[in-house]
Amino acid sequence: MTTQSPALLIIVPLISAILCLLLGLIRRGLCYPFVVAVLGVSVILSFDVMGTVLNDGVIRYRLGGWDPPWGIEYMIDHLNAFIAIIIASISFVVAIFSRKSIEHELAKGKIIYFYTIYLLLFTGLMGIVVTGDVFNIYVFLEIASLAGYALIAIGRDRAVLASFEYVVLGTVGACFYLLGVGYLYSVTGSLNIMDLTLRLPELYHSKVILIAFAFFMVGLALKIALFPLHVWLPDAYTYAPSTVSAMVAATMTKVGAYVMMRIMFTLFEPYFSIKLLPVTTILGWVAAAAMIFGCIQALAQTDFKRVLCYILIAEVGYIVLGISVGNRAGFTGAVLHILNDAVMMACLFMIAGAIYYKTGMRHIYEFAHLHKKMPVTVTCLVIAAISVVGVPPTCGFFSKWYLVLGAIDARQWFFAFLLLASSLMVAIVFFKMMQTIFFAPAGESAHAHIDEPHKEHKHSRDEAPASMMIPIFIMVAGILLLGIFSGQIVSTVIQFTVPKGF
């Protein structure tokens, strides 16, 4: 079991996706419990892999029994295993959430296909995370992207248009990535990450490598919606179904950021990415711009999910900033922030979904006196918001802590300042929201829709069903516990993920 669990990490969801389709053809109701069960197994598997990595060091699993440069291998170190756990756990929790929400937002016949594609999305993300082969990353990136396009397209309003935009830009990103692979291949002849790591240093001054690196970066920046290339994200994640927003927002960008880390610091050595090229400087400024831009845009929005989208853009900025400062603390912060941000974003988007499910409200100005109707949800919202703002003891603080320390270590005072400034702006965003919820004068929200049915019974308590609340609780508990145990997380896992050159 243990020796094969890296392979099972992919096989289980992949085969389950197929079986889910077949099961659904027999009985539609079976899909949901099946998906939840499978994702539960995946969570266990990912922890198992993590345990192996912690005990025995890096896992190198040779697929098909071929030796690495010829065959494909999984290369799982602490970083992969960590991200894998995040992906699996988030998918699991969001899957629990999906039941009512999907029944609410989707035609009945589509549910089985939805769950199939959900599992395929998970497979794709997991595949990206565990593999140790640059071309294989591309293949699984495409699986995840195709599934993502489809899941976004089944949303409401302009979802299809947004999804199409995502298709175009996502393909450009993937193509750029593929071009990078091609350029790399044309001078090294290898696709395996470890093999490339050995072969690249002598070529560091080659122009081909330079261009390959640039295209990798631009392609991935498109995929993770880094600031100037973020245009597809807000629409896509806003109009997607709530479940999908929660899943995709929490995992897709994180996986992209992971690949970015891999390429910058494993495929190329930190020496190349930091010393030889001004990449980190450029990335740092771009990330800083992303943070500020995301927060400012978030301030201007009224649609709750759109606010979250722009905050997500800012959070991507945080992660990239952590990568780009190029020191231990910064990198730790980036990795920790991947975890925290995944949990926070999943939580917030699920809360948005729960509110939408129960009241049909999407805009913040409609939320007045929501706490009387859904007190528990609002409490969770408050905790998640506090975490996003970065108030201790929630988890959001600790990643920012390391990020700021990293920025200060790198003597980038301005970045440190921007980090704090953007936290403040996020605080204003959520503060506005809270003010509407708790203190809106009675009837202020009436200017939106005066005679909607939910107005009548708005003071009677009416929470979302348990299948939605339990995942939210799990995530809120996660926010608090990850905050408390972030020291342990850093000392047991994250400190080993820091690349050697730091």
């Binding site: 506090i386 108030v391 201790p392 003891p393 600790f398 802590w401 700021v404 320390l405 200060i408 270590d409 440190a416 300042f417 704090l420 400034a421 936290s423 403040l424 605080a427 503060f431 003010q435 708790f438 203190f439 004068p441 408390i484 145990f485 972030s486 020291g487 850093v490």
Partner: protein
């Protein structure tokens, strides 16, 4: 120094958190039970705090680390003399304020009382947290908790004005503490690798490793960040926060919140930087002059205020700077004075706020100019006001005198004659803005009271009629309110005659700081 491991600090903090939960669960259905929780928690908290006093008086320190996040970065508690001092003060006054707020809230029949009491309890927890924190990080954490959970209290009325004031409050407090204080914490951690308070100051040990410029910058950032102390450029939130119900102003904005601010200043000055270091660099003097400016300027502004609570607020701004001034003098007497001033000002100012609230409840008056002759309607209240005012000014048989005495001594020890001048002029200014009120209340004829229509209509008046026109009949606030304010007024007198208990603790604190010299 002996270290005792005990979870008592956590209990002291947790009890009111628990109370908050119970209050929320009980809700509006059983009001008596809900308020019983508040009072029970207050009493329990006070007794827990008091149970720690013997250790402190023995020269021991109670420590408890909850968990460690990174080396030098943990959430932990350490009860030393300074902390216990502040803890006793806050938890004792909470008991009194609890009674007072019950009277206040019920007489005015306020809405959302559950939220009010719950937030109050959380705020007290956080205050304890700040008092007992063993490092800058824990301090910061609870500091933010105070800010966030007092926001609903300030915005309690939910009128546009209240929300605007509350927003200003939050903007100032969160903005500066994240923008400056957190930044300073980061720099501190980056420079020294730890945030734990040490009695000699952690920067003192890092001296020589980093340049003085960086230390100065960090210090300034800290000072700018600790806005809760309402130092002059960042004082604006305090008058704005006066839209809150009076008990909130009384306990939080005269004691808990603002005192947390000055308490953090004291801690930063003596435990983070260390007296010796500041003395060497000369930052103390700069801070002292800075505080002096605040003292005078705020007093002058207070003179111009007609709203009673606003006048009290500016008075608070001015008085808080006394504390900072005392610490900034960096002399034993100065520090004693400032620590004593924390408690003495607290008793005095809480009395004054309580009276303001009582006047509002009984007569619905908020302006100074309307108070003519009110002393005849509300003799007990106004007597307490007078005592409080005298204590503020620093007239001998009242507590305020002691701290001013020590402060003056400190200034003399530090050879800072201008500071003495400041103290004197401020005393005169204090008299100028308090005594007219007293005079008007007792000796002026009541004018045309145009607020009688708003007099409380639900028959809670303590004694007397609903007709303020008669002017001579007693028209006090409910006993629930008058008794607490009498108690605190009494407290100021008692403290003048028996300050030994607090002075003992102060002495221990001083020994810790100066290394027993």
């Amino acid at each position: 120094m002996e270290v005792v491991n005990s979870i008592r600090p956590i209990l002291a903090i947790g009890v009111s958190l628990l109370a908050a939960c119970l209050i929320l669960l009980t809700g509006e259905r059983a009001r008596n039970l809900r308020e019983f929780w508040t009072i029970l928690a207050a009493v329990v908290k006070f007794s827990i705090v008091m149970s720690m006093v013997p250790f402190i008086l023995d020269g021991k320190v109670i420590e408890y680390t909850v968990f460690t996040i990174a080396p030098g970065l943990s959430i932990g508690f350490k009860v030393d003399a300074l902390g216990i001092f502040f803890g006793i003060l806050a938890s004792f006054l909470w008991i009194i304020t609890s009674f007072y707020s019950i009277g206040y809230m019920r007489s005015l029949n306020e809405h959302a009382q559950t939220r009010y009491f719950a937030c109050f309890a959380i705020a007290l927890s956080a205050t304890m947290g700040v008092a007992f924190s063993s490092n800058m990080f824990t301090t910061f954490l609870f500091y933010e908790v105070i800010t966030v959970c007092t926001y609903p209290l300030v915005a309690h009325k939910e009128t546009p004005e209240a929300i605007k004031g509350a927003r200003k409050y939050l903007t100032y407090l969160l903005g500066t503490s994240i923008g400056f204080q957190l930044f300073a914490i980061f720099m501190t951690y980056n420079i020294t690798g730890t945030l734990d308070f040490s009695h000699q100051g952690i920067f003192g040990e890092a001296r020589g490793v980093v340049s003085d410029t960086i230390i100065i910058v960090t210090f300034i950032l800290f000072m700018a960040g600790i806005t809760k102390a309402a130092m002059m450029p960042f004082h604006g939130w305090l008058p704005a926060a006066m839209v809150a119900p009076t008990p909130v102003s009384a306990l939080l904005h005269a004691v808990a919140v603002v005192k947390t601010g000055v308490f953090v200043v004291v801690k930063v000055v003596v435990h983070l930087f260390g007296i010796n270091l500041l003395w060497d660099i000369g930052l103390g003097t700069a801070l002292a002059y800075f505080a002096s400016f605040t003292i005078v300027a705020a007093s002058v502004i207070a003179l111009t205020q007609d709203n009673l609570k606003a006048r009290l607020a500016y008075s608070t701004v001015s008085q808080l700077s006394y504390v900072i001034l005392g610490v900034a003098l960096l002399t034993p007497s100065g520090i004693t004075g400032s620590i004593m001033h924390i408690v003495l000002h607290a008793f005095g100012k809480i009395t004054l706020f309580f009276t303001a609230g009582a006047i509002y409840v009984a007569a619905h008056k908020t302006k100074v100019s309307e108070l003519n002759g009110i002393g005849r309607q509300m003799p007990f209240t106004m007597a307490a006001f007078t005592i409080g005012a005298f204590s503020m000014i620093g007239i001998p048989p009242f507590g305020g005198f002691i701290s001013k005495w020590y402060l003056t001594m400190g200034a003399i020890e530090a050879n800072q004659l201008p500071i003495i001048l400041v103290l004197v002029s401020s005393t005169i200014l204090n008299a100028c803005y308090f005594l007219p009120i007293v005079y008007a209340a007792f000796f002026k004829e009541p004018g045309t009271a145009h607020h009688n229509a708003h007099a409380p209509a639900h028959g809670v008046a303590f004694a007397g009629s609903h007709n303020p026109h008669s002017g001579h009949k007693l028209h006090e606030a409910p006993a629930m309110m008058v008794v607490p304010l009498m108690l605190t007024a009494l407290g100021t007198i008692v403290l003048f005659f028996a300050p030994d208990f607090f002075l003992d603790i102060t002495k221990i604190a001083l020994e810790n700081v100066t290394g027993g010299k």
